[in-house]
């Protein structure tokens, strides 16, 4: 079945202390060319029938994201399309 993928990120103006902690750890791996890291959340939704982007947006707006501090995007991923495209 095709899935709906919802990506939730903190709004740019909201401090992301987790991302900062990760960025601060990178020099310990010898990585010195990363300017910033921000951490979000990806949620995959499978509908019982046809995937419904409008419904997914409603779910994201009401529950998956808190619009006060977070932005989200909603997209369709085909069943045979690997979501981890770069592996």
């Amino acid at each position: 079945m095709p899935r709906v993928v919802v990506d939730v990120m903190l709004k740019p103006e909201i401090l992301d202390p987790q991302g900062q902690a990760v960025a601060n750890a990178l020099p310990r791996l010898g990585v010195s060319d990363v300017a910033s890291v921000r951490i979000g959340r990806r949620i995959e939704i499978e509908f019982t029938g046809e995937p419904d982007l409008d419904r997914a947006r409603e779910i994201a707006d009401k529950l998956l994201a808190n619009p006060v501090i977070e932005d989200y995007t909603v997209r369709l991923v085909e069943a045979d399309e690997p979501v981890d495209a770069h592996r």
Binding site: L15, P17, Q18, L63, N66, V68, I69
Partner: protein, 227 residues
């Protein structure tokens, strides 16, 4: 007649027992409410206690907001029912849009657990009318996601309307904007506070008895409120 103050238990609530005890010490009858039961059983006010409702999954308070009891509480709060959200309860009130803004991860990423001095800035609410304006109180704070955030316009409005209920003194434990520890809604019946007044009601277990004022306030408010 003794006032009846409901204390909600969600799966993962921790401080419901202490909150019920604080209600009793203040002189009211605590009524335990269950997250899955939409009935409020005739209570005159409600406390949403601290803890980790639904495991803090997704975001703190995000799933608790949709509990059957919350649907009833949101409607009743809009009708004037006094509601106090403590810590996780504050997070739930923000998620339920009864209070503006949100609680984000502590800026330093550490869980903070210490006795904290607060300044009571608004005594016009249902939960703070027993305090003096500007009174300093000592109350435990214990949170990992207690950093209050809102856009500048919302913060300005809260300040202008006297809706910042308490501020941290002597060091901000979580990075909250403008040192905000507690806020209220426009009507003053809904208050969210990050520190824990229910842990400061007895000399044996608390750093002070200052927390009791929140619970005696609501009794005072109920006596004055039209039936």
């Amino acid at each position: 007649m003794t006032a009846r103050v409901g204390v909600v238990t969600f799966p993962g609530s921790l401080d419901d027992g202490d909150a019920a005890r604080a209600v009793r010490i203040a002189g009211a009858e605590p009524v335990r409410l269950w997250h899955g039961d939409p009935g409020l059983h005739g209570v005159d006010a409600v406390v949403l206690p601290g803890g980790f409702s639904y495991g803090d999954y997704l975001r703190c308070g995000a799933i608790a907001r949709f509990a059957p009891v919350m649907e009833t509480i949101v409607d009743a709060a809009r009708g004037g029912l006094p509601v106090l959200g403590i810590c996780n309860g504050f997070q739930i009130l923000c998620e339920a849009h009864l209070l503006p803004g949100a609680l984000a991860r502590n800026q330093h990423l550490h869980f903070r657990n210490r006795d904290q001095v607060l300044r009571i800035e608004s005594v016009g609410t249902a939960w703070t009318n027993a305090f003096q304006p500007g009174q300093e109180v000592l109350i435990p704070v214990k949170n990992g996601e207690g950093c209050y955030v809102a856009d500048p316009a919302t913060l300005d409005r809260l300040e202008a309307e006297g809706r910042v209920v308490a501020r941290y003194l002597g060091g901000n434990p979580n990075g909250s904007q403008r040192d905000i520890a507690a806020i209220t809604n426009e009507a003053g019946n809904v208050v969210g506070i990050m520190p824990h007044p229910e842990h400061a009601v007895e000399a044996l277990t608390g750093p002070s008895l200052d927390g009791l004022g929140f619970f005696t306030s609501v009794l005072k408010h109920l006596v004055g409120a039209p039936a």
